[in-house]
């Protein structure tokens, strides 16, 4: 099975997110980046499918030069090769334009399966995978926890709300967006890191955007507080005393 995993590079989880001076994005000067977590699960699923069924895993990422580090990490974890769609202007492209870039890079590869995370930790639009499937004319399924190859294609386990699930059968080629928790994530081994150095990365220069974006981000800001939270301060022991007092007299659980 030839599998392409589309991954995104996002600011690290504990990064201090600061609004940019122009108020239209975040200040990226001091940000450290990593793989979007749901995409890490997509990569893990791809690697496990390859281990079970054979084939090839290709990591695909669109973004500026810095995303090369995330692709290297994917190679170190076991992807066979990487494709970097070099684009420095992703903020100016909407999801449709971005998916078009990815689709252009994917078409010549004719993969059997495309995997991606269900949403990104930064923008959280949760659509790139589904739009990509539509552009490529493939069936898709989202929020997938488990994938199994069958004689006629795939059987996948999809997460529904409130602890419910559902199985779906579908033909290949197909696209799946992967939900976290279906697998345990692996770490790159020293051997993997060494091997990654000799694995090929193809770099494609993104073609300029042809259509204007359909949405415009006009302002980014800290949310205004909806509710008055009473913040308790002091040493840990002092805070504990105040909390116990609330638990006794107001919450009445002690």
């Amino acid at each position: 099975m030839k599998i392409i995993v589309a991954i995104k590079q996002v600011p690290e989880r504990d990064a201090q997110i600061i609004v940019a001076p122009d108020g239209k994005g975040v200040d990226d000067r001091d940000l450290a980046y990593t793989i979007n977590e749901p995409d890490a699960y997509a990569l893990e699923e791809a690697l496990q499918l390859k281990e079970k069924n054979g084939g090839e895993v290709i990591a695909l990422c669109a973004g500026p030069d810095r995303v090369a580090s995330t692709l290297r990490e994917a190679l170190a974890k076991g992807a066979d090769r990487a494709i970097h769609v070099n684009a420095g202007d992703l903020a100016q492209r909407d999801t449709l334009a971005l998916a078009q870039l990815l689709a252009d890079a994917i078409r010549p590869e004719s993969p059997d399966l495309i995997l991606t995370g269900l949403q990104s930790d930064d923008l959280g639009l949760g659509q790139t995978g589904v739009v990509l499937a539509e552009l490529l004319g493939m069936p898709h399924a989202t929020l997938i926890m488990h994938v199994e190859a069958t004689s006629s294609g795939l059987r996948v386990k999809r997460e529904l709300e409130d602890g419910w699930f559902q199985h779906l059968d579908m033909p290949l080629p197909a696209l799946l967006t992967i939900q976290s928790g279906g697998n345990k994530l692996r770490y790159a081994t020293l051997m993997g890191i060494k091997k990654a150095k000799s694995k090929p990365t193809a770099t494609i220069t993104a073609s300029p955007a042809t259509v204007p974006p359909t949405i415009e981000l006009t302002r980014v800001y800290l949310p205004e507080k909806q509710k008055r939270t009473q913040m308790l301060t002091g040493t840990p022991a002092e805070i504990a005393v105040q909390l116990v007092e609330k638990l006794q007299s107001e919450v009445r659980v002690l």
Partner: protein, 335 residues
């Protein structure tokens, strides 16, 4: 292109379908947007045998209720919904198409928008009128750490697609109407070969052995706990309080606690007397599962963490210092 169309979702408990609560919230958002823009608002329901569902909606202040019926829409599939709604939108040419932001909508709405060369503006939490004509749509970035205003660049050829986050609009603010809205059946062209996926019936993994919903006190732990071994720290606090232990998703994903202890959109929904959140950031998918709690206390080292949006009492501090101190103080108070 004019008017607002709200695509409803329904649940089918004991054979009589009714609109889901989050759909009614989306409908309230639709009425709000229509009022702001001075345009009309209609709703659509999809499925088979949905006459009673359409009737339930016809009492709302709506221009029309479209009943999109087809055998192939009985069970949800992305292909079926995309084809059906594409036909409905082509025919009725709404300027705005609204959805509740559900797992089902995540599954098909981006593909539907793509058919119109549009992008879905997903998970919208507020809609404001603006002088430029197009409304300002507010959504969250970085899992609720920031808000962002988006402006759709509307064209006359295609509608603007948006989905509404759970809890952002109130279903009790829905406007009713004395004269029922006309129900308009809409016939779609749909052939079995157009549906490429075959869904099976939904199931639950296993019977839950812990019923978090019944627990009066819940202590819930998130990724701030860092390591599996540290869970014991929070368990000790829960025991001191006589509370059930719950968790955010990453803790269950990692297998540190079983999934049946997960609170949130894909786990359990709880509303205890006290919900004590330890090292949980407060992403919307977690908040929807617990924000109905009577009292919420949050301990988080980041004073800007979104969990403080819903907390009654907050401690901006290190859980590894606060939790042991609190456990000790509780045990002392109990004598």
């Amino acid at each position: 292109m004019s008017g607002v169309l709200v695509v409803m979702e329904h649940q089918d408990r004991s054979g009589s379908p009714s609109p889901s609560r989050i759909s009614l919230e989306a409908l309230a958002a639709g009425q709000h947007l229509a009022k702001e823009l001075g345009i009309d608002c209609s709703a659509a329901v999809l499925g088979e045998g949905i006459g009673s569902l359409a009737e339930q909606l016809s009492g709302k202040a709506l221009t029309k209720v479209f009943a999109v019926e087809h055998t192939l829409l009985t069970q949800y599939t992305a292909d079926g919904y995309v084809h059906a709604l594409q036909q409905l939108i082509r025919k009725t040419t709404p300027g705005y198409v609204l959805f509740p932001h559900t797992y089902q909508v995540r599954d098909f709405a981006p593909a539907l928008a793509t058919r119109f060369q549009q992008v879905l503006i997903s998970d919208v939490i507020a809609i404001h009128a603006s002088s430029g004509g197009a409304p300002i749509l507010v959504r969250q970035l970085f899992q609720g750490k920031l808000n962002a205003d988006y402006r759709p660049i509307t064209t006359q050829q295609a509608p603007c697609f948006l989905s509404i986050q759970a809890g952002s609009f109130r279903s009790d603010s829905l406007q009713n109407s004395a004269t029922p809205a006309p129900i308009e059946p809409f016939a779609v062209d749909l052939a079995p070969a157009q549906i490429r996926t075959t869904p099976s019936a939904p199931f639950r993994e296993s019977a839950n052995t812990v019923d978090l919903a019944a627990a009066p006190i819940i202590v819930s732990v998130g990724r701030g706990i860092r390591e599996q071994e540290n869970i014991a720290l929070v368990k000790t606090l829960a025991d001191a309080l006589g509370a059930e232990l719950a968790a955010s998703r990453p803790i269950c994903d990692a297998g540190w606690l079983p999934m049946e202890r997960q609170v949130g959109s894909s786990g359990q929904t709880v509303s205890p007397k006290l919900y004590l959140a330890v090292g949980i950031s407060g992403a919307i998918q977690h908040l929807v599962g617990m924000k109905g709690s009577k009292t919420i206390i949050a301990i988080n080292k980041d004073e800007n963490a979104p969990i403080f949006e819903v907390a009654d009492y907050g401690v901006a501090g290190d859980l590894f210092e606060i939790v042991p101190a609190l456990t000790k103080a509780i045990l002392a108070a109990k004598g």
